[in-house]
Symmetry: none
Subunit: 161 residues, 2 copies
């Protein structure tokens, strides 16, 4: 089982997402690193790479693990009790300063989770470009952060539309 469609990491990610979706009772799944690695015919540390790059708090996941006999890796899908909670989470993610590039990546995640539409993302990206500093995509700016927080906070808190 390898490289069927995309790349290894992508396939492992998809598999984990499937498990999470199938899970009914809990808001987490439990894995054994070694087994997963065998399943995908790869080195165990590959699993860590996938978790580190695709199941981060920014993307809405938490990891808990244990070593030794009966070791495991648990992946929690973070859920938000209220719009305010979600909005606060996003506000924290944005922080005091953000770059165009970081904002772009955040918007990707939000659209993937269907928290914003493509059209909304387009509008936000245009606005960001209008007020972004000239120093390039990676330059952090306080103003970017403030506008982005206002926009996303408004979308998630409000009940427009």
């Amino acid at each position: 089982m390898q490289n069927l469609s995309q790349n290894l990491s992508h396939n492992i990610e998809k598999y984990i997402l499937t498990l999470l979706e199938e899970e009914q009772q809990e808001n987490f799944i439990s894995l054994r690193r070694k087994e997963l690695a065998e399943m995908f015919e790869c080195v165990p540390s590959q699993i860590n790479y996938v978790l580190r790059s695709r199941f981060t708090p920014e993307q809405g996941y938490l990891i808990e693990s244990r070593r030794g006999e009966h070791g495991y890796i648990k992946i929690f899908r973070v859920t938000y009790g209220s719009p305010d909670e979600l909005s606060e989470h996003v506000t924290n993610l944005i922080g005091g300063e953000i770059s165009l590039y970081e904002a772009h990546r955040l918007l990707e995640v939000l659209q993937d989770r269907e928290l914003i539409t493509g059209r909304e993302r387009l509008l936000i990206e245009i606005a960001l470009r209008y007020i972004a500093p000239d120093e390039g995509q990676s330059a952090r700016s306080r103003e970017l952060s403030e506008m982005l927080k206002t926009m996303l906070g408004g979308l998630m808190t409000d009940d427009n539309d």
Copy 2:
């Protein structure tokens, strides 16, 4: 071997637009920069130039990419062609300068006619406030006009030729 018809950038643009039109399932296409460059017998960074100059959010497109093995560039077409008349009409309404107040009234109308959603309107209003002049709601500004036209144009982009 070039300048067969127009210039390289133009040809690459056309090719990408063709791919986007042919795409049925999704609202995006996925490219490999290196392959496209080989296809057009040019340097890879040429592709970036085409994307930067012709597939911007202002023109109704969003780009996502990844480096490394199995790298890719995805181009999303966010909007679908809408009547030219409409976007032209709106552009004329906005004119060379507009005040926050006038913009607000225009957005109300557009929402009433369901050309934009409440959420989209919220985003535009926030963006306008961030670049509005200090002189108050009634002060006309060229920059307000430009951003507003860009945003609404982005949402109502048509296939140019």
